[in-house]
Amino acid sequence: MDTTILTSIFSASIVAGTPLIIAALGELVTEKSGVLNLGLEGLMSIGAITGFVVTNHSGSPVLGVLAAMIAGMAASLVFAIIVLNLTANQVATGLALAIFGVGLAAFVGKPYESVALPPIEPLHIPLLSSIPVIGPALFQQQWLVYFSWLLCAGVIWFLYRSRPGLVLRAVGESPTSAHAVGYSVLTIRYLATMFGGAMAGIGGAFMSLFYTPMWSEGMVAGRGWIALALVVFATWRPLRVLIGAYLFGGVMIAQLFVQGSGLPIEIPSQFLSALPYLATVVVLVIISRNLNTIRLNSPVSLGQSFRPDA
């Protein structure tokens, strides 16, 4: 295999993994505060269509990404009000958000089905991008790819090195004690949920602006759910989210390469397309079979409502 193919496989895997990283890191912070937001698929769909519409009208992908972020925050605010103030079941509300978001995106996006955006040029990082093989793969990427790395570093620093991060984790582990010490559990959970929504929005915008510069109904295609699985796979550790996302990206890209390579392999394309979903199931099995890895790492109060005056 010559090096250009290798480079493009690496490069494409990183691109495919990026929306997963951004959305999953946001969800990780949300879950660390004890809130389980299953609505990621809906949030990403809302982000994808918002980013597309705004970029299409303004001509600026930066504005598009910002708008997608705000849209993700607005939608997760609705979720937060229902589960935090009104103490509704988080699983059910998350599912409602997923169904609602996918529907809303399809509704808003209908007139944009045949619109295409001009492709966005990748950002070359001088010097580093001239390293053979990995240079072009790692350092000739869209700016959101670099953002995803900074985000990962930022989340690690925030959760494990900063005081607010410590408080957030304390709220996720034991809301009652955090409340007793004087922290506002609801405020912290609100902020964490909004952050998760913002990141899911950006992840969605990456899909419709950079991954495939177009909108089509159902284009998020389960990536929100895969991002949720990724958080479990990473056992709530940010760096493992990064690694996991690139593995999934690799699986997604591998099937595209096999389909496009003209290799004498007689596999129907649908079977190859099913691989990322099957890989998710397999990975979940491998992680979940050891009860201790899940129990030790998942935030203790995950998915439970908390009322300060109760």
Partner: protein, 355 residues
């Protein structure tokens, strides 16, 4: 001063049944606002969406036709949701039921036997149950989260259907459309009301609702599963098997979703196509909640959701709006219901001035 929530001494029964009505009311208001924002006359939009679809007998028969799969799937899901088993993959189980039934129909396409239909029904139920058995096995054996696994299998089922109708099962005379041949008369469900498309699957759905009611409220097994859902520790202490709860929940949900899939291909569709489901598997999740996980509630919630589907189609034809507006209403309804449920356990109080 802002009003604040105060815990009720006892959960309010009136609100338990009142909150779905409140949610419906809020959704209707939301609908009026939405039509207004979209620049449509709200009252006209309202009429097109909620009244026109069911103003004659044919419309009502179509409503029952669309409600049928929702009743079947939601009853199965409610059995699991009550026990805290979250089968979110009914959409995939529906498709696999359709695949199973289609397999039988294609196998016996030249047969005139009266056994073809019952066989299709069984194959449909098995198809759905097998697909649901995968998350059940993974959950009981490896502790894998059934929400994520059942969902991933939805995408796999969609791709499998796509492969079948583009590949081995493609109608050779179908002008390359991704669909199978039209089923013969022996593989189609009998029509219930002449002149409409409503099949006897509606009666099956009613029977399932009644059976579901008896199972959930009158059987010992149903009681055990409910305890498992509400107080896991108590269920373990009483020696109820959580493994059995998971299996019964998922197999029931899968089999009923599979039967719904069979009823769709052997009913209004008459063939398997690339888009065999209209999102019934996901809509049924909303139906189960709006119906309070209770068969009587599910009956009415199914009719309501079916109306939202038909309203979406009407809005497309007469208001020039995308049919996904129906989905928007469906999601909005569930949001409002979950929010309104707070009043079951809390009451609204104006905060006193002195604190």
């Amino acid at each position: 001063m802002l009003p604040r929530l105060e815990a009720r001494a006892e959960a309010s029964n009136a609100m338990r049944y009142g909150s779905p009505l409140l949610a419906v009311g809020l959704t209707l208001i939301g609908g009026l606002v939405l039509f207004y924002l979209l620049g449509r006359n709200p009252l006209h939009g309202f009429r097109v969406f909620f009244f026109d679809p069911v103003h004659d007998l044919y419309g009502i028969s179509e409503l029952l036709l669309k409600a049928t799969p929702l009743m079947l799937i939601a009853t199965g899901l409610a059995v699991g949701f009550r026990a805290n088993v979250w089968n979110i993959g009914a959409e995939g189980q529906f498709l696999m039921g359709a695949v199973g039934a289609t397999g039988v129909a294609l196998l016996f396409q030249n047969s005139q036997s009266a056994l073809v239909l019952p066989l299709m029904l069984i194959a449909g139920a098995i198809g759905g149950a097998v697909w649901a058995a995968i998350p059940a096995a993974l959950k009981t054996r490896f502790n894998t989260n059934e929400i994520l696994t059942s969902l991933m299998l939805v995408y796999v089922a969609q791709l499998l259907v796509s492969w079948l109708v583009f590949g081995p099962w493609k109608d050779p005379q179908g002008f390359n459309f991704p669909q199978t041949i039209m089923f013969g008369n022996n593989a189609l469900l009998p029509i219930l009301i002449p002149g409409t498309r409503l099949t006897i699957a509606f009666l099956i759905a009613i029977a399932v609702l009644i059976g579901g009611y008896v199972f959930m409220n009158r059987s010992y097994m149903g009681f055990q599963m409910q305890v498992a859902g509400q107080a896991e520790a108590a269920a373990r202490y009483a020696g109820y098997s959580s493994v059995r709860t998971v299996w019964v929940s998922l197999l029931t949900g899968g089999a009923l979703a599979g039967i719904a899939g069979m009823a769709e291909v052997a009913g209004p569709m008459g063939q398997l196509t690339d888009h065999a489901s209209s999102g019934y598997g996901f809509a049924a999740i909303i139906v189960a909640f709006i119906g309070r996980l209770n068969p009587i509630g599910i009956f009415f919630a199914s009719l309501l959701m079916a109306l939202l589907y038909m309203g979406g189609e009407q809005a497309q034809q007469h208001l020039n709006l995308p049919p996904a507006i129906g989905q928007v209403f469906q999601g909005m309804l569930l949001f409002f219901l979950l929010g309104a449920d707070v009043f079951i356990n809390y009451r609204l109080r104006r905060a006193s001035l002195a604190k």
